[in-house]
């Protein structure tokens, strides 16, 4: 069904950066940032900046010690907790790291004052390659973490050595997944407003996680949760970037408390690119033990993540290498698996979650390995995959992932049909004779969904979750829903209202969903990790069932039948089999709230308040599907053009196909960007080389082709309603399909693809050998 969110809504109300506080006199923040990748800070002189008319405050590290550092850590023995200073004091570790903050009457004046702050730096040797950072003698980033390793871990399942000894062949693949950026079109933004009378702070925050932001931000600010209200209204995209705790946001909040004025900070595009969060860079070495007939035996994988200068909070840069490693088996039948990961500090921007986390990089490396095996064995990759694909039944993967049933082979066949596999090899050979390079790539995947306690722990993050939703039938029978989830483009107001309308048998229009305001909703940790359909459906179904039970009991009491004989349909409570005996929802509501006043009777034995708040902490659930792409590589220019792209998705029971397709297409477009265009390079001194959108290339209408989208519905065997998750699959599978297609187009020339993005210059270099 169509979304209720209207184009007029963003135009009239809109994201954080457009909000004006009720109180006047908003001040604006800007930051002095390090131009160096690694340097000692020997002097910071802010006197000239403080003296500039219009400047209300300039803070350096010593002024804001009360905030403490932002600590990136996990409750694991093998993790080295990492403290990031709110402002750099004596050392900067990446280009863009904030050194001082200016608060002034306008952003223009604040930026003038930033230029008046004098900072003396003594450059230090930098390290920008994650493997070099782990090597002996590398420049060290953190005195308390020798060796630059945030975490080193490994797991072995089954007899890996035995399988590799028995194999006819060991296939190897090294793959470097490039550094990319979630880069929502609205950057980070905050307006902090301190009410000294009430001693309450309100933050309008461009966030995916208003509840989590409140929990994580209140203590550094010296506040309790009840003193902090986080409002995340219409947020201009998130994709994982807006989960983190940000020094700049804590500083804006602190400045508002100290100055007694609203303080606003809206990052500019350079700050977004250089100094928010990067993602997904992992260097991977994979091995496959395989028999001559193509039967897979075992896989080994080593994953070196590049976490940047600091571990972000709360999830840290481990979201890439660890999630990649745990999903090493993918959809393949294997006897044994071993993975090891390392997570290196480098003089680059910190990394954090970006849609599909390490599942993107891991998928690209694993599926490139499978294609490599196909070439070495002389078996078509399509056939090799199908031969080793697991069955559709629920099962536990070699790394312990509890797959809840899927369409692992059928989704591949359907994607191949949609992309035009029939006759492709003949077409490929024919055009090759004309000097044209055509290639096909296939990328079957599982997508972990419903990120909560079970999935987080499976992926190596020992957290528990609480995510609630509430359902209240108001006196007039309309329904108010509140949730701790948060939509920033997904369409929760539509789909969650659908769920409630279906469950209570009321009109869609009678349901209102409130989210994104910690004072108006129940608690939750927000939206990310393909969780909202699963968690939202589960929590709402449970809450609706409790409210429905009360409605039925009130109706039964008034109609003098048993509650079991009542059903809720078409906005009424109806006696089953006697459609003329019914009570309208409006009358039921008034009866519950006011009883005799409207001539109704309240049952004596129930709490008449028609409300319920329930949480849902789902078990592991995994969507699956397959992306297939046909590309053409221009041998002269190295430009890759996508000829066809098909995406088959099985996210279990679909609540709203339009919204699911929006997620698939959008995530696939991001995957295409990562595969072909988007890159965040540094030079060897740690200078950042992609500070504008002319350097970091978002794909446009000319790069993203029409996609053939299709669905298979294999209901989850374990979640409420059989719902899985759909937010990330496109960014799991599309990059890999394209990488494999390019490799397929040029493999006969002896060219081996080993990294993303496959920019024209890089492809040209491959073709030249």
């Amino acid at each position: 069904m169509e979304r209720v969110e209207r184009p007029a809504a963003p135009a009239r109300q809109g994201p954080v950066r457009r909000r004006r506080p009720a109180a006047g006199g908003t001040l604006h923040a800007a930051f002095v940032r390090s131009p160096h990748g690694h340097a000692r800070v020997t002097r910071v002189d802010v006197e000239a900046a403080r003296a500039l008319p219009g400047v209300h405050a300039v803070y350096v590290a010593a002024d804001v010690e009360s905030l403490g550092p932002v600590v990136g850590a996990l409750p694991r023995d093998d993790v080295h907790a990492n403290a990031r200073p709110i402002l750099a004091a004596d050392r900067v570790r990446f280009a863009g790291e904030p050194v001082a903050m200016v608060v002034a009457t306008s952003r223009y004046v604040a930026e003038d004052a930033v230029r008046l702050v004098e900072v003396d730096y003594e450059p230090l040797p930098a390290v920008v390659d994650p493997e070099a950072a782990l090597a002996p003698g590398a420049p060290q980033l953190h005195d308390d973490i020798p060796g630059n390793s945030f975490l080193r871990a490994s797991e072995e399942h089954g007899d890996v050595e035995g399988a590799f000894a028995r194999a006819d062949r060991v296939v190897r693949k090294r793959f470097h997944y490039g550094r990319v950026h979630a880069l929502p079109l609205e950057g980070r933004a905050i307006l902090a407003s301190w009410d000294a009378g009430e001693e309450e702070l309100t933050l309008w925050l461009s966030s995916q996680v208003p509840g989590l932001a409140r929990t994580l931000m209140c203590h550094p600010l010296g506040l309790t949760e009840k003193q902090l209200r986080v409002i995340a209204p219409d947020v201009g995209g998130g994709f994982g970037l807006k989960i983190q705790v940000n020094p700049e946001e804590l500083l804006a909040a602190l400045a508002s408390i100290r100055l007694g004025r609203p303080v606003k900070w809206v990052e500019d595009r350079y700050e977004a690119l250089a100094a928010s969060y990067h993602a997904k860079e992992v260097v991977m070495d994979l091995e496959l033990a395989v028999m001559a007939d193509g039967t897979f035996l075992a896989m080994r994988g080593r994953y070196v993540g590049d976490t940047g200068a600091y571990a972000s909070s709360p999830f840290t840069g481990l979201v890439d290498p660890m999630c990649a490693a745990v999903l090493l088996p993918g959809i393949y039948r294997l006897e044994a698996v071993r993975w090891e990961i390392d997570c290196a500090f480098t003089n680059k921007c910190p990394t954090a979650a970006y849609r599909a986390v390490g599942w993107s990089s891991g998928q690209a490396a694993r599926e490139a390995l499978v294609d490599q095996a196909a070439r070495e064995l002389g078996i078509d990759p399509v056939e090799l995959r199908l031969r080793n694909t697991i069955g559709d039944e629920p099962q536990v993967s070699p790394t312990g992932c509890a797959y809840d049933g899927g369409s692992y082979a059928a989704s591949q066949r359907l994607a191949l049909e949609l992309v035009g596999w029939d006759g492709f090899r003949e077409r490929q050979a024919a055009v090759r004779a004309e000097g044209r390079l055509l290639g096909l790539g296939v990328s079957p995947f599982v997508e972990p969904g419903g990120w909560a306690s079970a999935m987080a722990k499976r992926m190596g993050f020992p957290f528990d979750y609480l995510d609630a939703s509430s359902v209240t039938v108001e006196p007039d029978g309309s329904v108010l829903v509140t949730t701790g989830l948060h939509a920033h483009g997904q369409g929760h107001r539509t789909v969650l209202a659908q769920v409630v309308a279906d469950r209570l048998g009321v009109a869609f229009e009678s349901v209102k969903v409130v989210q994104g305001d910690t004072d108006r909703t129940v608690y939750g940790t927000g939206s990310y990790g393909s969780r909202s359909a699963v968690v939202g459906f589960g929590s709402l179904a449970r809450a609706c069932d409790e409210v429905a039970d009360k409605l039925k009991r009130i109706a039964a009491y008034n109609l003098e039948v048993a509650p079991e004989d009542i059903e809720l349909v078409d906005g009424k409570a109806v006696v089953r089999g006697a459609p003329d005996r019914s009570i309208e929802m409006l009358m039921l509501g008034y009866t519950a709230y006011f009883g005799a006043f409207v001539g109704g009777k309240r049952p004596p034995d129930i709490d008449p308040y028609l409300t319920s708040t329930r949480s849902y902490d789902p078990p592991e659930t995994y969507s699956n599907g397959c992306c297939a792409a046909i590309v053409e590589v221009d041998p002269e220019t190295g430009v890759v053009r996508i000829d066809r792209l098909a995406f088959v998705d099985d996210c279990g029971v679909m609540l709203n196909p339009t919204l699911v397709e929006g997620q698939l297409a959008g995530a696939s477009a991001q995957g295409i960007g990562a595969a072909l265009y988007e890159e965040l390079p540094y030079d060897e001194d740690g200078n950042f080389l992609a500070g504008t959108l002319l350097d970091y290339l978002y794909p446009t209408t000319l790069e993203i082709p029409p996609m053939a989208l299709a669905h298979i519905e294999t209901p989850s065997t374990v979640t409420e309603g059989g719902v899985k998750g759909a937010g990330e699959g496109g960014n799991v599978a599309a990059p890999s399909a394209i990488v494999n297609a390019v490799q397929d187009a040029i493999a006969h020339l002896g060219a081996e693809v080993t990294r993303t993005p496959l920019t024209p210059d890089r492809v040209r270099a491959l073709l030249r050998g």
């Binding site: 457009r18 219009g54 003038d112 959108l693 978002y698 446009t700 209408t701």
Partner: protein, 167 residues
């Protein structure tokens, strides 16, 4: 090191969506900031301030421009069209309606720019093919949708504006 504030203020007069508006601007104030913060027209969004993303697209004297690349004083005396002018009342413009029906916006941040760019295309070329639409909209970026639904919405709106069908 230069920290001098550019002195001086100018009264900037514009005709915005058919209405005369005036406000005071420093010479260095961007048109995008002037529209949003001085005139309160916050429908124009600012995505990059580098002239790349197209989110801040408005029309000045009938031509689509990046409002983040113009100073407000440069637009003095001009006619400016912003997204607020598309649907002054409760009724959405056919393009907006088509964007809603075709799920052509998710977070909505890029939408104002796409609407203005699409309007500009359809006024000059009422029956564009898909390749023309894609070429015309290549100066605007969307991080959410993958574009196909945006192209479909423009096709549908074009048909409605030609009087052929409901978008």
């Amino acid at each position: 090191m230069s920290g001098r504030i550019l002195d001086g203020e100018t009264v900037v007069r514009l005709v915005v969506n058919g209405e005369e508006r005036r406000a005071i601007a420093e010479p260095r104030l961007l048109l995008s900031d002037f529209l949003r913060h001085e005139l309160g027209l916050t429908g124009t969004h600012v995505g990059c301030e580098q002239g790349v993303c197209g989110a801040c697209t408005v029309r000045v004297d009938g031509r689509p421009v990046r409002s983040c690349l113009l100073f407000a004083v440069q637009a003095d005396g001009c006619r400016v069209e912003t997204v607020e002018g598309l649907a002054p009342g409760e009724e959405l413009h056919p393009l907006q309606r088509a964007f809603q029906r075709h799920h052509a916006l998710q977070c909505g941040y890029c939408t104002s720019g796409f609407l203005l760019a699409s309007l500009d295309l359809l006024e000059r070329e009422p029956d564009p093919d898909e390749a023309t639409i894609r070429a015309h909209l290549a100066g605007n970026v969307c991080r959410c949708t993958g574009y196909q639904t945006i192209v479909a919405a423009v096709v549908a709106a074009a048909a409605e504006l030609r009087g052929e069908a409901r978008a």
